[in-house]
């Protein structure tokens, strides 16, 4: 390698190193991947593996010491104890309810921002949808605590109709979680609607379809994968939540709360409980994979 000026000794070393790297793509790839894989594969996946293995351990009921003997006792308890079964079903129900509510609210909003509002307004409206994503999770839950508290905004608004707000409990939990994850549903639907080719809609109209028919036969099938993509977030985030339930849920218990309350006394049981949302989410992902939603994540 020749250069106009003779390189200093230090620069020569750098050049030789660079040359060695340049001719060995495998070495470059190895150097790129070593640190991240150590972190993610060893630290993170390693921790997860230990957790899932520990779900098959038990605790000594007298000393609370973990007994490292393989048994399926925890899972047996999980599926035979009525309380656990109820909580699992309730958590899945909450996650599904939040997902459906998000989709129902998100659709008109996204339809408006993507196809009805003037083109100049659209980017601004997208920012308006994104803004609450940056506001703190806890602050948003706190806002709903203020709204739903006794004598709060909900009571005040419903008082003229002779009603009072739902207070803290299961409905409050569903409402708050819907609020928290709503932007995750609006954005993908907005994007899908925006990319919908206008000539498809024209063609449908030319063939004699009214707005309702076009919506059912053209718009909905093309937007459904995005709804499914959004639902991954609304469903998975709701299923794992325990903070919101603690703040606005009153006495309501979800899986997350059970995991949290078991963690000090019975880690293997907490681990077994923790596998439930993971398995449910994986099943959910497999179920919606057919819609092609996962490709647009």
């Amino acid at each position: 390698m020749t250069t106009d000026t003779p390189p200093a000794a230090g620069r020569g070393t750098v050049r030789r190193l660079a040359g060695a790297l340049h001719t060995r793509p495998r070495l470059r790839l190895t150097l790129l991947l070593t640190a991240p894989l150590l972190w993610l594969a060893v630290l993170y996946l390693g921790s997860l593996t230990v957790l899932f293995v520990s779900a098959f351990w038990t605790t000594n009921s007298f000393t609370s010491e973990v007994v490292k003997v393989w048994s399926t006792d925890n899972f047996h308890t999980l599926f035979t104890t009525p309380v656990f079964r109820q909580v699992i079903l309730r958590s899945v129900g909450v996650a599904l309810a939040v997902t459906v509510l998000c989709a129902v609210i998100a659709f008109p909003v996204a339809f408006y921002t993507a196809r009805v509002a003037g083109p100049r307004w659209r980017p601004l409206l997208v920012v308006a949808i994104l803004t609450p994503l940056w506001a703190s999770y806890l602050v948003k839950v706190y806002a709903w605590r203020l709204i739903l508290s006794e004598g709060g905004l909900a009571d005040w608004m419903l008082a003229p109709f002779g009603l009072s707000g739902p207070g803290f409990g299961l409905p409050a939990t569903v409402l708050t979680l819907t609020y928290l994850w709503l932007p995750y549903m609006i954005l993908p639907i907005h994007t899908a609607l925006e990319q919908l080719p206008a000539n498809l809609l024209d063609a449908s109209a030319d063939l004699g379809a009214r707005a309702g028919r076009t919506f059912r036969s053209v718009v909905l099938p093309m937007v459904l994968p995005s709804v499914a993509a959004g639902s991954v977030f609304t469903f998975s985030l709701s299923l794992g939540d325990y903070i919101t339930v603690q703040i606005v849920g009153g006495k309501t218990q979800l899986i997350g709360n059970l995991v949290y309350s078991n963690i000090e006394l019975n880690l293997p049981m907490a681990a077994a409980l923790g596998t439930v949302p993971v398995v449910v989410i994986v099943l959910y992902l497999l179920a919606i994979r057919r819609t092609g939603a996962l490709n647009s994540l």
Binding site: V116, S136, Y142, Y179, I247
Partner: protein, 271 residues
């Protein structure tokens, strides 16, 4: 689709209601911080700035902000390095297990925080405790970095896919070494993607409560933990109100910056 007048009006009303639902709670937090009363009853009996000055003197909240900033900066720095390295590997090379690598990067944010939290908690307990390293700020940073990697990765990989490697090859044909090409060509191309990714990573870390709960040592209190601990204490209500209002106001900054950092970078963490 040719919507009738009624359909358009209905959509307009629906969207207006939707936006009202999104913004009323945030506005309520702002108004409530000016409420002279300790209770959250509506409407407030008056407006006062008194609690803002009380909150400014609250050392617990101030210390918590400082801990959160340190944790956020540490986690962002690690995530920037690791996320960029993986992004280069995935975008510029074809190798066995490439799909798995991009899946594992997403996993920490796709799984419920409580699962990530107890997994790290038990791993730290079994590996670090015998070495004499307890839970503290360090373990919080490690935990946060794990789920922040994905946002840096997403931003950088999107940029790398858009800019082919031919720029670097051109630089090297002109005599630049691999390092020189990176500093003069690749890095400037990536700069705004790195900024956007770093911004998101910091915001994500600043907001995280679940993983923090399981990885923080006894003396370590981040701002979300402080808010959560004080939320249900009537004595602390006015200060919590002000802190919440400040956080709502501060959330405008990242939006402004994200908008400035060009439209092609991923603007949110999960979507």
């Amino acid at each position: 689709m040719h919507l009738g007048r009624t359909a358009r009006t209905a959509l307009r009303i629906g969207a207006a209601l939707g936006f009202a639902v999104i913004y009323v709670p945030l506005l309520l937090v702002l108004v409530n911080s000016l409420n002279p009363d300790r209770s959250a009853s509506w409407p407030p009996p008056g407006l006062t700035l008194h609690w803002w000055s009380v909150a400014a003197d609250n050392s617990g909240a101030r210390d918590a902000v400082w801990v959160s900033v340190k944790a956020g900066l540490g986690a962002t720095a690690i995530a920037l390095v690791l996320g960029t390295l993986i992004a280069f590997a995935v975008a510029r090379y074809r190798f066995l297990g490439r799909g798995t690598v991009s899946f594992v990067v997403v996993l920490p944010i796709a799984l419920p925080g409580i699962v990530t939290g107890i997994a790290l908690n038990s791993a730290f307990g079994t590996v670090l405790r015998p070495l004499g390293v307890g839970l503290g700020l360090f373990t919080v940073i490690v935990g946060h970095a794990t789920f922040c990697i994905v946002v840096v990765f997403n931003n950088v990989v999107a940029r790398l896919r858009r800019t082919s490697g031919s720029y670097e090859e051109a630089a090297m044909d002109l005599g630049a070494t691999t390092f020189r090409a990176f500093v003069d060509v690749t890095f400037p191309l990536l700069r705004s993607a790195l900024l956007a990714g770093g911004l998101l990573a910091f915001a994500l870390s600043f907001d995280e409560i679940v993983v923090t709960t399981f990885t923080a040592g006894p003396g370590i209190q981040t701002l979300p933990i402080w808010i959560f601990d004080n939320m249900t204490r009537p004595q602390q209500a006015p200060v919590v109100n002000v802190v919440a209002a400040v956080l709502v106001l501060l959330s405008v900054i990242p939006i402004y910056l994200a908008q400035r950092l060009s439209a092609d970078t991923a603007t949110s963490s999960r979507v």
